[in-house]
Symmetry: C2
C-alpha cells in the first residue's frame, strides 16, 4: 500500500523562502494570515490528511461507490462520510472563502497547500469538496443575495456540497450544442429538463443537500454558446427562509465505471422539470461557467501535484530499500547481498525527473494561487489587472502541464517498482489510474492548449507572456553577477528570448492560416511549461541560497536544478522543432486516407 | 467496447513490398511459405483472432482469473479454454516450430503476423501461448532427446503449455541472488524446492499439463549468476514412455491482483521437492535462460504493437464519428451540428503520432523476426552470424521502444475519446492498463537500455550499430538521385552520422566512468529507436512508390512519413542533449539528499 506524509518542509520553503508570502500578505492586508496561524494550519492539515484521508485511499479504490437503482441513491466508500463531516467541522471547507459567507478568509495560496495535501492523501475523496469550490465561485460572483444566503453559505461551511452540470452525451467541449432547457415559472423560478453526464459528486450521502450549477437554454435563447444560461438547482428544494423542502425532480440515473478515482462518483443526472433559479443574466451562462471552470482547472492541476507527491515518496522509499544488482562503479553496500536500486543511474534519472517536475510544479501552481490573492485583494487596480492577466495566461499551462506530468511521474514511480508496481497491493498502479483522469476533465490538454494559444495569447497579443518574460528579466537583473546563479540565468534568458520568437512566429503563421494555432498548441503549451519551470528552478536555487535552510536542503535544490537544466529543459528542443514544422504535416492527410 | 479488425493490408505491405519476404523465403529454401500459403495463413489468423479472441477481451478483463485456495487450481475467464483448444486444433501453436518437433516450419516473420493479431485481439489470452514459446526455445536448444520427445512436442502441438520460472520475491533482475535449490536424486532427476513469483500461466485448466522451466541452484553451485542451472518441472510427472503420472509437488500459492491483463494469470509457484530434470549443463542455466528471454522480449515487443493497433483503430473510428466544434478554417460539415473531431489539428497530431509509431514499429519488429529466419536458416555462416548480431542489437530497442510507444499510443488514443476514454465501457482504458505491463515484464525498459549500451554496444564495439548504419548507407546509395526520397534520405543520413558520434562519445566517457553507460542508457535507446523508425519510414515511402498499392495508400505512407520526420524525429534532439549531459547531473546527489 502506498503511504503519505505531507511535505511540510518543501511547502514552507515555497511559501516563505521562494514566494515570500509574508511580504505579500502584509501588502494585501491579510493580517489574519500571520506566520503562526499559517504554520498551525499547515500542521493541522498535514495531521488531518495523513491520519484521516490517506488511510481511506486504497479502500476507496477497492470498494468504490455503489448506486441503488430503486432509490437512485449513491453510497460512497466506507469512511468517506465521516471524513467529510470531520473536514467540515474543522472549518476546512471554508478556509479561503470570504468571512461574509461564513469562510475564514485565508489566502488562496494557503488553500493550495491544503488542497495539495488532500489530493495526495485521497484524490477521489478530494473531489467532493473541490466541486463545491467551483459552485462557490459562481455564486459569489453572480448569485443574488438570496442565492448567496441560501446556497453559498451551506457550501462554504460544508453542510452541503456543489456540482457543475455542463456536459451532455453529445456535447463536452462544444457547449453550444447543449439541449437542456429551462422554462420560466410565474414565481421567478425555472423548470429545468435534460440529461447531464460526467457529474462529479452528483449524488451521494455525505451531506443532506446538493447544489447543482446547471447550464441550460431559455426558450428564447439564441443558438450556440451565446444562448446558454446558468441555473442553481438544489437536490432538495429550499424555501425562501432557507428551510429544506421536498425532493426536487433531479435524480441520478446511473454512475460510471471508470479506470480510476473509484471513490469519486461520476453521475448521469436527469433533470425532469426540476426547480431552479437563474444565476446571473440570461444567456450569459458561459461567462459564469468560466469562473467556475478557472477555479476547477487550477484545482485539477493541484490534483496532478498531489498524485506526483505521493508517487514520489513511495518510489523514493522503495528505491532506497530494494536491493538489486551492484552499482556500476563497484559495490556500495558490500555487506549486503546487493546495492539499493537508488545507486543505479537510470533509477536516479526516473527519481530526479519526478522530483524536478514535482517541486517545480509546486511553485508554478502556488505562484498562480498567490496571483489570485493579488487579483482579488490588491489595492491598486493596475496591479489587480496585471495579476489577473498573468494568472489567466498561466492557468492552462498549470492545469495541462501539472496533470500531464502527473501521468509521467506516476509512470516513473511505478516503473521504479519493476513488476511489483503493476500489483495492486503496492498502490502505485492506483496512482497511475487516478492520474489518468486529470488530463481529461475540466478540459483536456488539447483544450487547455487551444485556450493558451488562442484566448490567452493570440487574442491578447501575448500580454501574459510578456509579463512572465518580464519576471524572468527582473530576476536576471536582480542576480546579475551572482556567480552561484550564472549557470542558470544565461540559459533561462536564452529560453525566454526563444519563447518570444517562437510566439511571434506562430502568430505570424496563424495570420495566414488559422490551423497554425491548433497545430502548434500542445507543443507550445509544453514548451511554455518547461520554461516556466526553468524559471522556478532558478528562483529555487536563489531562494535556497538566501534562506536559513540547512546545507543538505540547499545542496539538494541546487543538484535538482542542475538535473532539470541538463536533462529536462532540453525537451524544449523537440517541442520547438514540432512547433516550427507548422500545420502542413498535420493537415495534409485527407480524413479518409488515415486508414480503413 | 473496443473493436478489432486485423490490418491485413498493412501486414501484406510490410511483408511483400517493404521486406520482400518472397525473395528471402526463396533464398532460405523456405518453399513451404509460398505466397498462396502465406496469404491463406494471414486470412485465417485474421478470422480466428477477430471472431474468437477479440470478443473475449472485455470479459477477460471484467471477470479475470479465479484461484481456489483448497485445490490450488486457477480458472481463467469464460471462453479462454475453448479458444485455446481451437487455437491448438488449428495448428497455430506450432506454426513456426520445426517439423522435427511436430511444428509447421513456417518462417518466424509470419509468426510475427499471427502474434500481432493475437495480441491485438486479446493480449491477456495471448500470454498463454507466448510463454510456451520461450519454453520451446529453451528445450529445442538445450533439451535431451527424451526431454524433446516428452516435453517439447506437447508444447508445440498445444496439448500442454509452458512457463518461465525465474523471479523470486527478493530477486528479479538480479538472478544471482536466487534461492531455489535442486537436489540430485539417484535416478538422474532432481528435487526442486523454492518459491517463484510473477509466473505467467503458472496454473490454469486450459490444458492437462504445464511444463515449468525453472532456474535453481545445485548444491555445489558457485555463488552469483554463474551458479544457476535450468530445470524442466512438469505439473504432472511424466514417465519415461511419456505417460502422465501423479501430481508433482509444485503448486500455485496465490495469484496477483494486477492493474491490467486480468485474463492472464500471474502466480506464486511453490516448489516443494518437485521432480525435475536438468536442461543443458550444470551452472549454465543463465545461457539457456537468455534463449527463452530473447524470444520473450521480442514477443513482448509485439504485444506493444498489438495494443497500439487496437487503440489506433478505435481512436480513428471515434475521431471520425464524434461531432464537436468547428474546424478552425471554417465548417467542414455545415449540414451537421459540428465537425468530426478529426478536423482539429491537435486530434490529428495524436492520431498521426500513433499511426507513425505503430506502422514504423511494425517494420522494426518484422525485420527483427525476419533476421531470426536468416540467423537460423541461411546457408552461409557469415550471413547467419551477421543476422544474429543485428537481431541481438535490435532486440532491446524493439522490446523497449515498442512497449513504451504502446503506453504512449494507448494514451493518445484514450485522449481522443475525451472523458469517454476514462469510462470502462469504451474499452480504451483497458488497453492503457494492459499496455502498462509491457514496459515491466521480461526486463524493464531500464534493463533493455543497459543491455543495449552494455552487452550489445560496449562489449561488441558497436558491431550491431555498424550493421544498421550500413543498411542506412546501402539504402541511401540505392536511391541516390531519387527526387521522391531526397527529403528523407538527407536527414536520415545526418541522423545516422550523429548516432555514430553519440555512440563514440558515450563509450569514450564510459572508459573513464562506468556510470556513464547507465546514465546514457535509456535516452540512447530511445534515440536509437527513433532513428531506426526514420529508416523504416524512408523505406516505406520507397516501397510504396515501387509497389502496386493504390494511390491513396501511397499518399498516406508519404504523408505519415513526412509527419514522422517533421514532428516525431525531432525528439532525438532532446535525447541527444540528455545523453551528452553525462552522468554528473544524475550521480551528484547523495542518496540521503533525495528527500525525507
Amino acid at each position: 500500500m502506498s503511504t503519505y506524509k505531507a511535505p511540510l518542509d518543501d511547502l514552507r520553503f515555497a511559501l516563505y523562502d521562494v514566494l515570500d508570502v509574508e511580504k505579500q500578505f502584509a501588502a494585501l492586508g491579510q493580517d489574519e494570515a500571520s506566520r503562526d496561524i499559517v504554520d498551525a494550519v499547515l500542521d493541522e492539515a498535514a495531521r488531518f490528511t495523513e491520519t484521516v484521508l490517506a488511510p481511506l485511499n486504497a479502500i476507496g479504490d477497492e470498494v468504490g461507490c455503489t448506486f441503488d437503482k430503486d432509490s437512485a441513491e449513491v453510497t460512497p466508500p466506507p469512511g468517506f462520510k465521516e471524513a467529510f463531516q470531520q473536514f467540515a467541522e474543522g472549518g476546512w471547507t471554508g478556509l479561503t472563502a470570504s468571512p461574509d459567507h461564513g469562510g475564514q478568509g485565508m489566502p488562496a495560496v494557503l488553500g493550495y497547500a491544503l488542497t495539495e495535501m488532500v489530493d495526495a492523501a485521497n484524490l477521489a475523496w478530494g473531489n467532493f469538496p473541490m466541486l463545491s469550490h467551483g459552485a462557490v465561485e459562481a455564486l459569489k460572483h453572480y448569485g443574488t443575495d438570496w442565492q448567496k444566503e441560501t446556497f453559498l453559505k451551506p457550501l462554504v461551511d460544508g453542510r452541503w456540497t456543489g456540482t457543475m452540470c455542463l456536459t451532455e452525451p453529445h456535447c463536452g467541449t462544444d457547449l453550444g450544442l447543449l439541449r437542456t432547457r429551462a422554462e420560466p415559472n410565474d414565481d421567478g423560478s425555472y423548470n429545468i429538463s435534460g440529461t447531464k453526464i460526467f457529474i462529479t459528486a452528483g449524488e451521494h450521502d455525505l451531506v443532506p443537500n446538493i447544489v447543482h450549477l446547471v447550464l441550460a437554454k431559455l426558450p428564447d435563447a439564441p443558438p450556440g454558446p451565446k444562448g446558454i444560461s446558468l441555473f442553481v438547482v438544489p437536490k432538495f428544494k429550499v424555501g425562501q427562509d432557507g428551510t429544506i423542502g421536498e425532493r426536487n425532480t433531479v435524480r441520478c440515473g446511473s454512475i460510471e465505471h471508470k479506470m480510476g478515482i473509484h471513490g469519486s462518483v461520476t453521475c448521469v443526472m436527469n433533470f425532469d422539470g426540476a426547480q431552479g433559479y437563474l444565476v446571473g443574466e440570461p444567456h450569459r451562462g458561459l461567462q459564469a461557467m468560466f469562473v467556475m471552470m478557472n477555479s476547477a482547472r487550477l484545482g485539477v492541476g493541484v490534483q496532478g501535484i498531489g498524485l506526483s507527491e505521493r508517487a514520489w515518496q513511495n518510489a523514493l522509499r522503495y528505491s532506497r530499500e530494494r536491493l538489486q544488482s551492484r552499482s556500476l562503479s563497484g559495490p556500495k553496500l558490500p555487506d549486503k547481498p546487493a546495492d539499493p536500486i537508488i545507486v543505479h543511474p537510470d533509477v536516479r534519472r526516473m527519481l530526479l525527473t519526478v522530483k524536478s517536475l514535482l517541486e517545480g510544479s509546486r511553485l508554478m501552481a502556488m505562484h498562480a494561487y498567490s496571483l489570485l490573492d493579488v487579483a482579488h485583494g490588491a489595492g491598486d487596480p493596475a496591479e489587480r489587472e496585471k495579476a489577473e492577466t498573468l494568472v489567466s495566461f498561466l492557468t492552462p499551462i498549470s492545469k495541462a502541464c501539472q496533470t500531464e506530468w502527473s501521468v509521467e511521474n506516476t509512470y516513473h514511480a511505478l516503473q521504479c517498482f519493476g513488476g511489483h508496481g503493476y500489483i495492486r497491493e503496492h498502490g502505485m498502479e492506483q496512482l497511475a489510474r487516478d492520474a489518468r483522469i486529470t488530463t481529461l476533465y475540466e478540459g483536456t490538454t488539447g483544450i487547455q492548449s487551444l485556450d493558451l494559444v488562442g484566448r490567452k495569447t493570440a487574442s491578447t497579443q501575448g500580454a501574459g507572456l510578456k509579463l512572465f518574460i518580464g519576471m524572468i528579466e527582473e530576476f536576471a537583473k536582480a542576480h546579475e553577477g551572482d556567480a552561484a546563479l550564472a549557470e542558470f540565468i544565461a540559459p533561462l534568458q536564452a529560453k525566454a528570448g526563444e519563447w518570444a520568437q517562437l510566439t511571434t512566429g506562430m502568430l505570424q503563421r496563424a495570420a495566414n492560416n488559422p490551423e497554425e494555432l491548433g497545430a502548434a498548441s500542445t507543443d507550445y503549451l509544453f514548451y511554455s511549461g518547461y520554461v516556466v519551470l526553468a524559471y522556478w528552478w532558478a528562483r529555487s536555487v536563489a531562494a535556497a541560497n538566501a534562506s536559513a535552510q540547512n546545507e543538505a536542503f540547499r545542496q539538494a535544490k541546487l543538484e535538482t536544478a542542475r538535473f532539470y537544466y541538463a536533462r529536462i529543459l532540453p525537451r524544449t528542443l523537440a517541442h520547438k522543432a514540432a512547433i516550427e514544422a507548422g500545420a502542413e504535416p498535420l493537415m495534409a492527410m485527407a480524413a479518409e486516407r488515415f486508414g480503413a
